[in-house]
Symmetry: C2
Subunit: 208 residues, 2 copies
């Protein structure tokens, strides 16, 4: 009844040809997803868009789900890479500036491929790779909790974990809803200001 679901590739490409094929398949997956939505995502369509035969697709991806999983994984890695790369520079800033910097990072991470991000979060059924998304979440949480704990005595909070949860939720959602509802708002500095204000006032480190 339930279709067999393996997420790891059936075969790793060993030659350059194969790698190119895999790349173009993933690229096509993204394009089809953005253009036709998850309902319009068929393996045949992806193969066609990639300029590759359906057989080749199934040489590297055991099933349709694996295709989407790989795409999610790639996208998540790009986003977390963008964040982690800048994180070191942020950790030692004074809190108010650190907060602003982290929020800014979140904004820019969501600007990598908004259309893809949108379709992935809005339409794709939360299949196996839900774990991947949670992981990203968890990384953010641990990171924020770490920053809070390090400066705990300067902050007007009692429970670091709880505060981290509240903050991550709030920021994530502000960025997300901006990206989804009003994509151009992401560039509006007033939004960044306001999100920063929310955080700093909550933490008791606002200057105004």
């Amino acid at each position: 009844m339930q279709r067999q679901v393996r997420l790891s590739p059936r075969k790793r490409p060993r030659q350059q040809r194969g790698k190119d094929t895999v790349d173009s398949i993933l690229e096509a997956t993204a394009r089809v997803l953005k253009h036709a939505g998850f309902d319009g995502l068929t393996t045949n369509a992806v193969a066609a868009k990639a300029g590759v035969s359906i057989g080749s697709l199934y040489q590297y991806f055991p099933n349709k789900e694996a295709l989407v999983s790989a795409l999610i994984e790639r996208h998540c890695e790009e986003m977390s890479a963008a964040i982690l790369a800048e994180l070191a520079n942020v950790a030692n800033l004074p809190i108010a500036q650190g907060a602003r910097a982290v929020i800014e990072l979140t904004f820019s991470a969501h600007a990598i491929d908004p259309a893809l991000h949108r379709v992935l979060t809005e339409q794709v059924p939360r299949i196996g790779k839900l774990a991947k998304l949670r992981e990203l979440d968890n990384i953010s949480h641990r990171m924020v909790a770490g920053m809070l704990a390090a400066r705990r005595d300067e902050l007007a909070i009692r429970d670091v974990e709880l505060a981290a949860f509240v903050l991550v939720s709030a920021i994530e959602s502000i960025v997300h809803r901006s990206a989804l509802l009003y994509p151009d708002k992401l560039k509006d500095p007033r939004l960044l200001d306001e999100a920063t204000l929310l955080v700093t006032r909550y933490l008791g480190v606002a200057e105004n």
Copy 2:
């Protein structure tokens, strides 16, 4: 290529029999969704679970999508009814208490049918009824903006619309992520306290 999508029922039931049928179909839809997820939702399965023939189902729902739409609509209406019913009592409270009351309302609205809510927000592709969800969103936004505008001179904010956006996003997400990630957290009063704190400090009306 794209399947025909009409969302309104093909026919309204005129006798009690028909109304019962429609009810049991919707009920079955919810149960199948919760039990098998969106992928496991087939019209035949729904009809079977409802103890109704597939033909009867298509007498009242023109297609599968309409089925889900009707369910979303019903769920949204229940949630907004729960909120709107209490809203009048809240509007005239002092801000700090009003904030807490509104947040509490959001919490309890999400406790109506968490399993269904989860499957609807996590798995159901945002089909036609996306509008319905946005509408709920919009109602919340207007409501909060109204409350803020009424007490504007007591508040440390500059832009009412922006503040409403930030607050609605933040609260919505805190409640949502609690419900999805840690369902039992919804009953934890410390979370409610913390969310309230976030809001009141941001607004500059916190007592501590």
